[in-house]
């Protein structure tokens, strides 16, 4: 094998100046376009605006578009389009990007039965912060959260805007089974488990809403870029809403 004279790096030199968009090569079938650093609602809105623009254009060769916190992930068929062509298309789309400074899109109201067996970690979260369970519920139901992205399992929304007084580390040992509908907290995020899956988030309640249901049209209730608000319901309301 020939001497490797250059390491084909993707991404910037470690101490280089941040410059966006930043194109990251993800093998020969995917590309990640970063629009900023960290978790920032303004950057995330630009990601969603870029996603909508490219989705409307339905470019040949693009197999899927996935908007995440600060980047847009594209999977493509290299026989139908090249990396260079994709970069050009993205640069062009960014030039004509719609105004993304407006607020979030529609807001979904999510009823949650907090505590007891539906929220087995509510007491622990309250104790961790020196709050009562009632105070945790109040603080959790106050904001309109921003859906930064959907990931992990079908329909799982990563919500930003959690009250800093509720930032809580993940469980030291993840659960092997988290029931569908569980509402959890992990660090500065809160989210909803749409299907039963393993998970390490602190579970504080459960919603009877089915975020993902293949027998419904549309199957997904939340999309990236939307808003989500929680409101507390009683055990009886939970039971009646589940039917």
């Amino acid at each position: 094998m020939e001497e490797q004279t250059r390491i084909p790096f993707s991404g910037p030199p470690p101490h280089g100046r941040a410059d966006f968009p930043r194109f990251r090569i993800c093998g020969d079938t995917a590309l990640s376009v970063e629009l900023g650093e960290g978790i920032d609602p303004a950057v995330n809105r630009r990601v969603h605006a870029l996603y909508r623009t490219l989705k409307r254009r339905a470019l040949p060769g693009i197999l899927s578009l996935n908007p995440t916190y600060r980047s847009l992930f594209l999977q493509y068929d290299p026989t139908a389009c090249s990396f260079e062509r994709l970069m050009t298309v993205v640069e062009q789309a960014l030039c004509g990007l719609e105004d993304s400074s407006k607020g979030s899109g529609p807001v979904l109201d999510v009823p949650v039965c907090y505590g007891d067996e539906f929220g087995p970690d509510l007491a622990e979260v309250a104790a961790f912060h020196g709050l009562t369970q009632e105070e945790v519920i109040q603080r959790h139901t106050a904001p309109v959260y921003h859906v930064y992205m959907i990931g992990f399992t079908p329909g799982f929304p990563y919500l930003g805007g959690l009250d800093p007084a509720l930032y809580t580390p993940r469980k030291a040992v993840p659960r092997s089974k988290v029931p569908a509908g569980s509402v959890g907290i992990a660090e500065q995020q809160t989210g909803i488990y749409p299907i039963e899956s393993p998970g390490g988030w602190q579970l504080i309640g459960r919603t009877p809403l089915k975020l993902f249901d293949l027998h419904r049209d549309p199957p997904f209730l939340v999309e990236a870029g939307m808003g989500v608000r929680f409101h507390a319901i009683s055990r009886e309301d939970y039971e009646s809403l589940s039917h």
């Binding site: 992930f73 026989t79 990931g151 399992t153 990563y158």
Partner: protein
């Protein structure tokens, strides 16, 4: 048309096609065949479109009875395939009659075998694909692995054409201990120079903790410059993520749509079949190439395959 009755389903048999692309923005994993080349070439050999649905059989212990006359082929890395007890060639179309029994058992080497039937397996499309996603319990046959007693239907087959074995040089270059080409990144800058020496210098052994979601590798631990964590982003088929403890984990067909660990490299699409067919206990070596070379490898292979099947169907061979 009822085509196949399952008599023994082995360790894990599922319906898979070329994957459920287009719903990753909703958190839906791509799924699809682990060995895309074996699926697509097997389909072409029986006159199907490359992405038609077929049975993906893990390891062995599979047996099924044909319910009608139908062309079929089995592809993969060296499984033992029998029709009514007699060995039949891989990567070769055969015609089965109603009542014939096909059995597929593990050979010495590969893991994932594909039974492709002319017309393709007919199960409902779910979100645009027939692939089974077991954790989500959807796709394929009722969202589950096949079991004895299941009956599968096929779509009407396409126009017939001369049945030919696939030439050796168009089959994936499987090996017991393959060299796997990668493009470095997307987070190459997160790793120390020693990490690259180790990653590209030493063999890595495939761990038994591997499944359709990903492959765990044992070998030298890879050091990060600072942190193993990134802001969650989309992940590709073949992305090699390295969590804090330093052992590489290759993300495969049933990978989640997003991940929060640094990725040192991504496997070339043409080398993924070689990697996924490497059994636990065997080793792989990684070799870095740039994107241009990766793209060229993909295009060359796609061109040679297109040319072969074009000539086969339209004369000239």
């Amino acid at each position: 048309m009822k085509a196949l009755a399952i008599e023994a389903s082995g360790l894990l048999t599922t319906v898979q096609d070329a994957g459920r692309y287009g719903f990753q923005d909703k958190g839906v994993p791509v799924s699809g065949a682990m060995d895309r080349a074996a699926l697509e070439l097997g389909n072409e050999l029986v006159g199907n479109t490359p992405g038609a649905a077929a049975l993906e059989i893990f390891s062995g212990g599979f047996r099924a009875r044909f319910l009608t006359e139908v062309s079929f082929t089995v592809t993969g890395f060296d499984p033992d395939v029998r029709l009514n007890g007699h060995g039949v060639d891989l990567w070769t179309p055969h015609t089965a009659r109603a009542g014939d029994v096909v059995s597929i058992d593990a050979g010495r080497l590969g893991l994932w075998h594909y039974l492709c039937l002319a017309g393709g397996i007919d199960v409902p499309f779910v979100l645009g694909s027939r692939s089974t996603y077991l954790r989500g319990r959807f796709g394929g046959l009722e969202g589950r692995a096949l079991r004895p007693g299941d009956v599968l239907e096929t779509e009407p087959p396409g126009p017939s054409f001369p049945l030919e074995s696939l030439p050796q040089n168009l089959r994936p270059a499987y090996a017991a201990h393959p060299t796997i080409r990668v493009v470095l990144g997307p987070q190459a800058e997160a790793f120390s120079p020693e990490a690259f020496d180790a990653f590209l210098g030493a063999p890595y052994v495939v761990s038994t903790r591997s499944d359709r979601m990903g492959m765990m590798l044992d070998g030298p631990r890879l050091k990060h410059r600072a942190t193993a964590d990134i802001v969650s982003e989309g992940v590709a088929f073949g992305a090699i993520q390295v969590p804090g403890e330093g052992l590489p984990f290759v993300l495969l067909a049933d990978r989640p749509t997003t991940g929060g660990y640094t990725k040192i490299a991504t496997v070339l699409s043409v080398d993924l079949p070689l990697l996924v067919q490497t059994a636990p206990g065997r080793s792989v070596r990684f070799q870095a190439v740039d994107l241009l070379e990766a793209r060229e490898a993909h295009l060359k292979r796609a061109y040679r395959i297109r040319r072969f099947f074009h000539l086969l169907r339209h004369g000239g061979l």
